[in-house]
Amino acid sequence: MGERLSVDCLGRTARGSGRPWHRARVSSGGDAALASRPPLPREGSGRRWKPRFGRVQRLVALIALLALHAVVGLGIIASGDRLGRRALLVGAVPPALTFLWLGFQVPDLLDGEVISSSVSWVPALGLAIDLRLDGFSALMVVLVAGIGTAVFAYATRYFSEATPNLGRLAGLLTLFAGAMLGVVLADNVLLLYTCWELTSVTSYLLIGNDHTSAKARAAALHALLVTVAGGLVMLGGFVVLAQSAGSYRLTAILDAAPSGTGVSVALVLVLIGVATKSAQYPFHGWLPGAMAAPTPVSAYLHSATMVKAGVYLLARLSPVFAVLGFWQPLVVTVGLVTMIVGGLRALRQTDLKLLLAFGTVSQLGFMTVLFGLGTPEAVGAGCVLLLAHGLFKAALFMVVGMLDHQTGTRDIFELPALDRRWRPVAAVAVVSAASMSGIPLLFGFIAKEAAYEAVIDSGLGNAAVVLGGLVAGSALTLAYSLRLVWGAFVTPHRRAPREPADGVKAPEEVEPPSLGFLLPGAVLAAFTVVLGLIPGTLDRLISTASSSLDARVEPLHLALWHGVTTPLALSAITIGLGTVVFLRLGRLRQVLAIGARVPTSGDAYLGVLRVLNAVANRITGVVQNGSLPIYTGVILLTAAVLPLAVFVTAAEWPGWPELAAEPGHVLVSGVLIGSALAAAMIRRRLSAILFLGVTGYGMAALFVLRGAPDLALTQVAIETLSTVLFVLVLRKLPDRFERKSVASLRVLRFVIAGTVAAGIFVFALLAGGSRTTEPVSDEMVERSYPDGRGRNVVNVILVDFRGLDTMGEITVLAAAAIGAVALARAGRRPPGFAEPTTGTPPAGRPGDPAHTTAGDGQRMLLEETIT
């Protein structure tokens, strides 16, 4: 177990070239697919070490922060409900610390420095904990840790002290934050996959948080199956990619940029994983269902972070692999369809949370388009959108959560009219929704402008089509944003007063949220405004992030006003179109219905589950037919026939070995054979068991004769105990074996027994005779004392040389014991079944003599007979 810590100081390689944040990348050289890319400086050139205070601590910090998430998360879960709402405060500590820590690293990261650390795990499999924090990872950490902290703060007000299982929920949130950090920090595809699946698992547990609700459980399972299946497909792709590139390190794979048919297939597999995780069409069905989770969970996992894992991976791969012919058409089409279908379906929702969920689907499609293009400009725009979306969508979820929490509903048609004290909440909602729809002066506008500009500059043949799709999708975004704000804060005032629906408070009873409840959302909205007004503050972060994805990215300059340009005109068209859609919503029902009619993975998912259940039923019916003789027969035949077939075809006949060395062998063997035959033929079970015992003791005698007292000792002990146990079980079985009336069955049994006997015989003969190299046991005998400090070789092998095997064996033994006990328990009558203490036979087999237990009723005092 070696531990290796290293620092990459890749920055500043292109200093003075006018591209100060140009990160060096190891050029792969003669790869035809990449020939069009500009030559890049080699890693070694211009490397500059900057000795800094506390570098080592910084490297350890990455691992320590991840470990902290795990420890705190598990600790909170273990503490149960003891902490109450304080669990959320404790749970917020790891993300908050991570955020703070990142704050201190930002200056170095902006200089293009990369913090990485690596702990090797299973070197032979390429399995290592490679962590790497570059500009883009830093951007994601901002989302994961920053929004994570805000969500924890929000959750302390959202949940009441009496919420059941709050400790579990808080712990899972912390664990999720750790897993998500792992995803964005992993530089090893296997580690990335592991963390990826961990986020799926924590998401599953969080969606199903209310485990009494069948709907929540089904939604959780849907999300789990879709994302985990996608993850598995992706793992297959990863393995092929890594094998072609010769390394499991993500950076090494990207540097090597392998190509070929196999790699293309692998990339499509990875893209399937991306699409399931980031809820891309046609796999988006699980995300709306995931809204069964409590709102803080939805705000965090299902809008700001987890669903972006797919986009994150896409962003990493795209700059390198977008040159492959299938990439752009495939990814961009999927993204556009997702964006428009999501937008159409969002417009049809009356539940505000579902509206936001479909909005998230739509926005994820937007990000997929940008990152899927893979051009330097699009990568930059994607980074801006990633951040902007995290800010406005989390805030909107928080607003919907506040509405739900204070009024008891989040349905547009049920929400009560809210009074003036709700204005701060409305302000947060308006700012965030406006940012989502790309209204000027807000951060979302900057992102949208950058996106339009990127597509225009991309030099794509059909840029106009992509641009048209983006404008249409953005117009839909504006329309559902308006629907959200109007539905929550305007239309309830216009409706005639009426009886509130079930569980909904009357308008005069509704209290506005407390300041602490509002604050996290307000802070996020404030960022949306500030970053919208002075986007230049983000120039360096976004530039570093995007240049760490693609070295060709020019330093970006984000600005509010670019002059009268095409993007500005497109923004105007978007706003106009979106407003028209919103105003004419009633007349557009027919158009909107298209979105609902598009087939989704939801139907396919249910179909697959149904087929799977049916197939499983049939298979179980055939395989688990409940007949013990058939089970035993199948197992024994398999064990005998398979090796026999191999030996007959492959191995050479070693010749007859020496059959008996001394008279004792013949004697013992005779007893063995005789008692084995007797055990097979005798009718009384008890006698059969005793004869079976004789064969065991006979084996022990053979061991003694061959000079293996250790084996003999074990054999005797085992034989004694198993005979006793057999007798225990026997009490519950009939006294005699059933007589088989059908002759063919008896023949079948005889054939099986004969085959097994022949198989074992040949196996023993060949195994002993087919030795080709020096037996390893000689070395073990030699090394037993010097290495294992023991003179009993068998024992030294068991506890030292082959200790790990023994460890595995005793674990299996323990598991088998627990299983056997459970089976024995399951066979017992349920408590409450009146049972006389004497050994009366159970109802099923009246009068069966075997059921006279050897228990207390049968015991007699020996003394009585003696005296």
Binding site: V724, T806, I810, R859
Partner: protein
Amino acid sequence: MKRLVILDRSVRVIFHAVLIGSLWLLFAGHNQPGGGFVGGLVAGAAVAMQYVAGGIDEVRSLSRFRPWTILGTGLLVSALTATIPILGGHEVLESGVMTVALPAIGDVKITSALAFDVGVYLLVVGLILMVFESFGDEPPVDDLRGQTSGSGG
């Protein structure tokens, strides 16, 4: 409850002797025939004698620990012995040796493999107790309830 007195008395006498024998097998196992597995089996045979003489109640009265507690402790001891060397930067299951001077007995060499063997011993004993517990006499209804809630926690 009726008992065979002679059997009962004999088992009382033999039981502890067999148990000590099993411990001897456990500790001598590293250099002479024996070891944790055989030792555990022999201890299991002692338990079987108790069962034959006095039934499941007699077996239960042997230890105030539940069978699965013993089984789990054994597994834990073995697993700890296997993993502790990692903390010191050694390989899994790397064995260490310590010589202890005991009064009256003299120098006793203790290897970490012995701790591993002790785990195996406990596991086997727990396993056998569990088998008797589940295939032996039917437990009283209350007891069954108590055990299920106990093992669930």
